[in-house]
Amino acid sequence: MASELWPETYEQAAAGLGAASAEHQAVRIHGAGTKFEWGGLGIEPDVELHTTALDEVLEHNVGDLTAVLQAGVPLARVHEQVAAAGQMLSLDPPLGHGDAQDATVGGVIATADSGPLRHRYGAARDLVVGMTVALSDGTIAKSGGKVIKNVAGYDIAKLFSGAFGTLGAILEVSVRLHSAPPDTATAVGSTDDPVVLGSAAQQLSMAPLELEALDVAWRGDRGEVLAQLGGPGAPERADRVAAIMHEAELEAAEISDNDAEIWSRQRAGQRSARAAVLRVATRPSLLAEVVRATRAAGGSLVGRAALGLSWIELAPDQVSAVRERLGASAVAVLLDMPAGARDQLEPWDAQDGAALELMRRIKMRFDPAGACNPGVFVGGI
């Protein structure tokens, strides 16, 4: 049975991590646990280091559009709090499975999860302007700052974003906020032809529309292109989007100004309780091929069309076929997996040897004892 630590201060977190590391123990860094299925199986932990007692929104600087958040704060709470000032943290991944919608800020950043707003506002790594971490030797270190523009020192925050906790524990982040557009409108067009889907999405991505989000979805034999607009004149611009969709041969372009449900469904498509979810990154122009691979595997897909990112929900026994079919034109990471299928599939695509060697060197420098989440990451890191 692993021992459980619930630090309430950064010093306690660092000391707990340091002590475990000194004893050659394996530590699992634990937020709300909504993404435990992700990454490699790793080594059974001796210590569970929970961040959920570090749950304060330390600052919300309304005038500066920044916030300072402890790692264990539920992301939903941040959204709620900044929304009261007409602002948003443009980081909108699915917050969990079913009823458990309590993904923490630290967990979302550590797994580099993202949602539809990544189209306009970037990923977690683009929104984090400063970070405080604990390393396995007990060091507490910060990088960046609280201002949105800053090039002093190395960007350690980017290194920890998406590192799956293998370099240390994220304790606190400073983030950039944006004004939430008071009005939004979403245009949705559909088709049963993956090529039409791909080309329509491409035309929209190349038009000067300032879309908040540009997504695609494919379920069964039909796909959709979804474009969200925000700010003054959003409904009128949605009409323009609908016209482009029509020209690109999408059917039934519909406009909704009550679009929360539409985007909630897109986010939910990135997770699966029953099947596997393969996240695929390709060139955006290969979208039709990714959709065909999905269809052939009997899966469904949601994706960020202009970024070349797709989340494919499929049966575990189809994962290898999709990977093979996409080959070198894609990099894939297996996220959700049903219990039992987990030990049969490698979650991470093989990496370029030199890049992997560099990653191992980084792991050795930050966590020489190998205490932090051992074995869950790329190449068994």
Binding site: V151, D155, K158, G233, R361, R365, F366
Partner: protein
């Protein structure tokens, strides 16, 4: 470095790049002795101008085998001394590598060599697309240098910085290994760690950039105010209204005076502050916001709001802003540029502090800044001909930076630390923070060969991890202590 060692290395570099692309004579090296931070100069052992990524790799490999440090240089426009050569090292000049390798608008992507200029990227994808980060040196500065410095520019409040646009890199590490880094590849975000590392982790030989559609409409206005406090108030109101201008730039009385004298752009000399606001995006959105911004400026007490009615008028408004640095020559023979950042809401207070420091030091400080993101560029004017004035100006410069840090800001927003600001690093970062930075540096460059002496306030070496202790040559010579 011994003479014999140097000539052996030079011979090897000549064999790699051709003798005409290896410069060793002081006369030939004169151009390369400094970057945009011109008062610091150093002559390297040699400057080498490779033409291909393979040549860069071989040059780096040769330096590795000879245990000779090196500095990579793009166009040399950097303002923090990041490309300042080292006297016992090699300068790798990437100016010949200026090929645009591919353009794919359907993937919003351009692949370039490091010596390609910033503006050339936008030109390569015009008229439909553009590359947003736009340092004011964009006509000459290189993308390789932009990657090293994580360059910003006037449009980054809305559009972001270099780091938000680099999606792929081919990098030569200091042992000569070539590595490909991609934005969404599984594993650590090595790409994110590399961008902005000021040439200390390796040298980029191929760069993939994201480009975006050119906005449908651009509307530019200039509003004059009695003082920077009122102009700052207008900035806060604009941002709180949820408006994100493409650019929002402020100039104070001194910089208006210098720029107006230099350009005759028609700026009001009786104004205490000028606020340039550029809105871009879909036409209807721009038009609505232009009216909103005009109203906000008037309400904040603007004495005069002028909207550019033509591209020529827009160019004129920008000309004065872009000339601001160069125009300072009219006020004083020399100046130091600072690059501090503050939370925007502290603007009025920090400007007051700068004014009172300037009065105390009896020096003129002009302020030009990217108002949206709180990035100040105080220009501290001095006359080196006057006894002790340069030293006083430098001291004042340091106090201004300290004021920014104390206000919760940063020592540098876009120019980089380089050698210029490394002494200020401890004002922002603790020893534990700096030691953590060093872990990253050591993972990439355990022998400390890439741009040593930059960024970190004191020289540090890398311990071997893991394995037996080995004495580093610099440590043996007593130059640096083990970290």
């Amino acid at each position: 470095m011994s003479n014999a060692g140097a000539s052996e290395l030079v011979a090897r570099l000549e064999a790699i790049c051709g003798a005409e692309h290896v410069l060793v004579h002081p006369h030939d090296l004169a151009t390369y002795r400094s970057d945009g931070l011109a008062h610091l100069r150093e002559t390297p052992v040699a400057a080498v101008l490779p033409d291909t990524a393979e040549q860069v790799q071989q040059v780096v490999q040769a330096c590795f085998e000879a245990e000779v440090p090196w500095v990579a240089r793009g166009s040399g426009t950097g303002l923090s001394g990041g490309a300042l050569p080292i006297s016992d090292g090699v300068l790798i000049v990437l100016a010949r590598m200026r090929r645009i390798l591919s353009v794919s608008l359907e993937d919003s992507e351009v692949v370039v060599e490091p010596g390609v200029t910033n503006l050339a990227v936008s030109r390569a994808v015009s008229p439909t697309h553009f590359y947003p980060p736009d340092p004011s040196s964009q006509i000459v500065c290189s993308i390789g240098g932009n990657v090293a410095e994580n360059s910003g520019g006037a449009h980054c409040f809305k559009y972001g910085f270099t780091t938000n646009y680099v999606t792929g890199l081919e990098v030569v590490l200091t042992d000569g290994t070539m590595v490909e880094l991609h934005r969404d590849a599984p594993g650590y975000d090595l790409l994110g760690a590399f961008v902005g590392s000021e040439g200390t982790l390796g040298v980029a030989t191929k760069i993939t950039l994201r480009v975006i559609p050119v906005p449908e409409s651009v509307r530019t206005l200039i509003a004059f105010f009695d003082d920077t406090v009122a102009a700052g108030e207008a900035v806060s109101e604009i941002v709180s209204a949820g408006i994100v201008p493409g650019a929002i730039e402020m100039m104070d009385k001194l910089s208006i005076k210098a720029s107006e004298e230099a350009t005759g752009a028609g700026y009001r000399l009786d104004a205490g502050a000028a606020l340039l606001v550029e809105l871009d995006g879909p036409d209807d959105k721009c038009t609505a916001r232009l009216q909103h911004v005009t109203d906000i400026c008037s309400k904040a007490g603007s004495i005069d709001v002028r909207v550019a009615k033509s591209e020529a008028e827009r160019a004129l408004i920008w000309r004065a802003r872009k000339a601001a640095f160069a125009a300072m020559g009219r006020l004083a023979p020399a100046y130091f540029v600072q690059d501090g950042v503050i939370p925007r809401t502290r603007l009025a207070e920090v400007l007051r502090q700068i004014d009172s420091l300037a009065a105390e030091y009896n020096l003129q400080v002009a302020n030009v800044f990217h108002a949206g993101d709180g990035n100040l560029h105080p220009l501290i004017c001095y006359d080196a001909g006057r006894e002790g004035e340069a030293e006083r100006a430098e001291e004042l410069s340091g106090l201004i930076i300290k004021t920014c840090v104390d206000a919760g800001g940063s020592i540098t927003g876009e120019h980089g630390v380089g050698v210029d600001k490394k002494a200020y690093m401890p004002s922002m970062f603790s020893e534990a923070d700096l030691e953590t930075f060093q872990r990253l540096r050591c993972a990439f460059d355990p022998h400390g060969l890439a741009n040593p002496g930059k960024v970190m306030p004191t020289p540090r070496l890398c311990g071997e991890v893991p394995g037996p202790y080995r004495e580093h040559p610099l440590e043996r010579a007593g130059v640096a202590e083990r970290f």
